[in-house]
């Protein structure tokens, strides 16, 4: 059971890491406020399911969409700023969203919000059930990302990350695609938030603070931005780290900090990113394919 709970945790964060990966990894737009969309999703579910008794699927879907719409708006606003300014704008957004959750009584303010245990078709869904739901969701996100990677939008996003000017010159409306990437990435974070709300049964603004954004982004970066395996591996490594290092409980945060520093200093492209040691090994082992999709 403990294993499953840890796996649920890792799974939720893997979905989140995959979601920020679409914005930061593929489209190349720094986003240090992903936890706010995670929070928007969770709060939407808490309000729908907790206050209005809405069922699982509608809550999940509405939560995702509300997060995605807010994400689209932030994406639109972010067109005015770039690079470091954009990074700080997203940080600021995170602080403001958390402040709103913390202060506005509708969002439970300082008392937080409770979510009734998840039931499907009248039966309570335990941790195992939740884990399956999360696995399914993660699978969907992976499939979606894979599809995206192989379709025109994926090509457009990566080209924007590489060189905006050149992408424009090839008929790619870079502004539109940046906004879309924000919309999709935040939509997925909203889904993750919804499931998280059911899993925790109780949420507070504290859970969606800026540090959570950093955790999410660190997972994607440590694993390898712009890949699918990367954010998942990152979520596993950094998600398990606090559990694994329980035996040195006093030094856990210290080790966490050290992992971030060492990884960024010596493998800044992430564990499986382009040019990392693992990626090179895999590249050598894998036979060359033409990569044509029929």
């Amino acid at each position: 059971m403990y294993g499953i709970v840890v796996a649920i945790n890792v799974g939720i964060f893997a979905i989140l890491a995959l979601s920020v990966n679409i914005i930061t990894g593929y489209a190349g737009q720094p986003n240090l406020g992903q936890a706010s969309f995670f929070g928007i999703g969770a709060y939407t579910t808490a309000i729908l399911a907790g206050k209005y008794g809405v069922g699982f699927l509608p809550s999940l879907i509405i939560s995702g969409f509300i997060a995605g719409i807010v994400g689209l708006l932030l994406g639109l606003a972010s067109l005015r700023v770039r690079d470091d300014f954009l990074a700080i704008t997203t940080i600021g957004f995170n602080f403001v969203v958390v402040a709103i959750f913390q202060y506005v009584p509708f969002f439970g303010a300082s008392m937080g919000l409770s979510i009734p245990p998840l039931k499907l078709f009248g039966y309570p869904v335990g941790y195992v059930g939740l884990f399956i739901i999360i696995l399914l969701l993660m699978l969907l996100v992976i499939l979606f990302t894979k599809r995206m990677e192989r379709s025109w939008i994926g090509i457009a996003l990566v080209s924007i990350r590489n060189n905006e000017e050149a992408a424009e010159s090839l008929g790619i409306d870079t502004r539109k695609f940046k906004v879309i990437s924000f919309g999709i990435g935040t939509l997925i974070a909203g889904f993750a938030g919804s499931v998280y709300a059911y899993y925790m049964g109780f949420i507070m603004s504290y859970n969606f603070q800026f540090m959570t954004s950093i955790t999410i982004l660190s997972m994607a970066v440590v694993g390898g931005l712009g890949t699918i395996a990367g954010p998942i591996i990152g979520a596993i490594v950094l998600g398990l780290a606090p559990e694994i290092f329980r035996f040195v409980s006093d030094y856990r945060l210290l080790i966490y900090g050290a992992i971030l520093i060492l990884m960024m200093s010596f493998q800044p492209q992430g564990l499986v990113g382009d040019g990392s040691i693992f990626a090179n090994i895999v590249r050598k082992l894998r036979p060359k394919t033409s990569g044509v999709d029929q």
Binding site: R80, A87, I88, F95, L217, Y256
Partner: protein
């Protein structure tokens, strides 16, 4: 009450200015958002307290704090930041967050999680007017901030190395070709950047008579808002932005009332400003 709030806001603004100055200096030269600077803030408070306990001399402890933390900053620069400069900006940012987490937790392990006292005896007493009271520690904060900012201003605008700093911030390559030893400028930059943050931490410790390992948490992020408002890498703009935030926070929070918590005000201001003037309030044209 208005006067009292005005004094409050100046004290708060001074603290912000000093705290954000370190990050501004680092950004000015290296273009790295240095969250670890807030770690220096906490480290500085502990070093300051330890040296004050040893020597009993406030002046000595502040100077020593500046130098020791500055040296730590130089080590960070040499061993960690310098090798990351050609990487995407997200890499040094995450590294600096890693450093920040590391420093904070190291402080907890070394000093315990409890807040400690930093009872400094000041050679002067507070001012008491009919409606305004200014405690001695506030005077200390304002005076030290003013002195440090004056020294910084003097260095930047009236010394050779300050000239080199400004030239390097504008065009590192040409500055190099003009004979500026960039390594030295960058080292000085970190010395001052981390030194200032450390002194700010010490002052805060004295002002609140309390230091704790997590004291850098709030400054770490608020200073980001301030340095952006100040035009990223512009020292003068940063001071102005810090004072403005001090004013706005005090009067919105304590006078008029605002629907969001005080710490959110800086970020609301930041977002509004970025949408109107994306390069910061006091951005220079070449930034």
């Amino acid at each position: 009450m208005f006067l009292q709030q005005l004094v409050n806001s100046i004290v708060i603004g001074s603290v912000y200015a000093l705290t954000a100055m370190g990050a501004t200096l680092v950004y000015g030269i290296l273009r790295v958002l240095d969250i670890a600077n807030a770690g220096a803030y906490a480290v500085g408070a502990y070093i300051g307290m330890a040296i004050y306990a040893l020597t009993g001399n406030l002046f000595v402890s502040l100077i020593a704090t500046l130098i020791i933390s500055g040296a730590i900053g130089i080590c960070l620069e040499k061993f960690i930041y310098l090798r990351l400069l050609d990487k995407p900006s997200i890499v040094p940012l995450i590294t600096s967050i890693g450093v920040f987490i590391f420093i904070e937790d190291l402080l907890r392990l070394l000093n315990g999680p409890y807040a400690k006292r930093f009872p400094a005896k000041l050679p002067f007493s507070g001012i008491q007017l009919s409606s305004v009271s200014i405690p001695a520690t506030w005077i200390l904060v304002m005076v030290v901030t003013a002195v440090l900012l004056f020294i910084l201003w003097y260095i930047l605008y009236h010394t050779r190395i300050g000239l080199a700093w400004r030239a390097t911030a504008q065009d590192m390559e040409t500055a190099k070709a003009m004979g500026v030893n960039i390594n030295l400028v960058v080292a000085l930059n970190f010395l001052l950047g981390y030194g200032f943050a450390a002194v700010a931490g010490s002052l805060i410790g004295i002002m609140y008579n309390s230091i704790s390992p997590t004291m850098g948490d709030t400054p770490a992020y608020k200073m980001l808002a301030i340095i952006v408002l100040g035009g990223l890498g512009n020292p003068v703009g940063t001071v102005l932005a810090a004072l403005i935030i001090g004013l706005v926070e005090t009067f919105l929070g304590g006078y008029i009332g605002f629907f969001l918590p005080r710490d959110a005000i800086a970020f609301v201001a930041l977002i509004i400003m970025l949408l109107i003037r994306p390069k910061g309030l006091f951005a220079s044209n070449n930034a």
